[in-house]
Symmetry: C2
Subunit: 228 residues, 2 copies
Amino acid sequence: GKKVLIVYAHQEPRSLNGSLKRVAVEELSKQGCSVTVSDLYAMHFEPRATRNDIVGCLQNSEEFNYGVETWEAYKRGGLSNDLIEEQKKVQEADLLIFQFPLYWFSMPAIMKGWMDRVLVQGFAHEFPNCYDSGLLKDKLALFSFTTGGSKEMYAKGGISGDIRYVLWPMQHGIMHFCGVKVLAPHICFAPEYVSEEKRKEMLIAWAHRLKTLWKEEPINCSPEWYFK
Amino acid sequence: GKKVLIVYAHQEPRSLNGSLKRVAVEELSKQGCSVTVSDLYAMHFEPRATRNDIVGCLQNSEEFNYGVETWEAYKRGGLSNDLIEEQKKVQEADLLIFQFPLYWFSMPAIMKGWMDRVLVQGFAHEFPNCYDSGLLKDKLALFSFTTGGSKEMYAKGGISGDIRYVLWPMQHGIMHFCGVKVLAPHICFAPEYVSEEKRKEMLIAWAHRLKTLWKEEPINCSPEWYFK
């Protein structure tokens, strides 16, 4: 069975994001996958990148450099426990699903903090091992999110621009940089402004997609896909 | 004199980001501006959007909706004190400067949390008052940041794509959405890989730009500027 890590950021289990997460756990488990969830709010996950992420002495305590210090700490096994735990989950996973509501054209800060703190140099990338030779190659990622704005607002020529523009930093800048292959995103537009009936259809559509997920080809994660 | 709020996110005062922040405080003060700094790491600023941001009872405690609850709380003066403080600073400012190191094609989580939590509906926008009619119109914003990658990597056709692609969510999706006019960004590429001499030149260039900042015209914050 495949291993899946769902990194989930919503405060409310009864939200559509909560339901989408549950649907994924159920459907993937039914397929025989082993599914782990990092429920970031429930974990009180720390989003701030600070000196606390390094156990013991710093390389250079005169001038703190987060990137350098976490890289060194990773190599000697000196990262804080919450980071080591998340890195283990990533290491074991074949697929990472990020489930969240879009906040300000991006992921909520608590999830951005997961990216900032978990994907340290040495673990996820190590120059020149980035992009196609990133250290997390052979893994897949999928961004699944809800929006406030409608599909029309997030169309090319719409007031908020093509939704693909907001995917560039997340899919290319983070996942592709680490070598992860990216599946097409799964987007539920403006669930707060549709009927309960429509929201149920959104859940069914997600479950349906997951049934054949392992047959999907990754997108071609290059500027053409985003900005053609 | 003009009022400036610098929202600053770096752990280390001795960093280039710390120096860029100091240069801005000095130069703008010299011009007679009144300058306030929100030093997010020093403030231990909370990036997580949670129920704690609302003082007292919720509108709907059965199903927590952060956007709805903070909007209601704003209207009745029931947001947490740290948010009210930041909103006061924003309200008084003519110019917002965001000073940070680029983390994963975006701002560090601690600064994303500032955006997520401070710019609540009712205060910064209130449909249909968004984009050109956003509630923070008549203010200016400027994103000033350092990168890990070089200028060549962040060129059109470079491996990381045009640096303007990463500016879209921050400048258009956040600031323009709130009605704020955006000045050209100020970018120091790859300061960790250049000489001390070059880093000093970066500080001088920033001070130099600030001397005539108030004469600058905002960019045309539309898709053409980003993706032409």
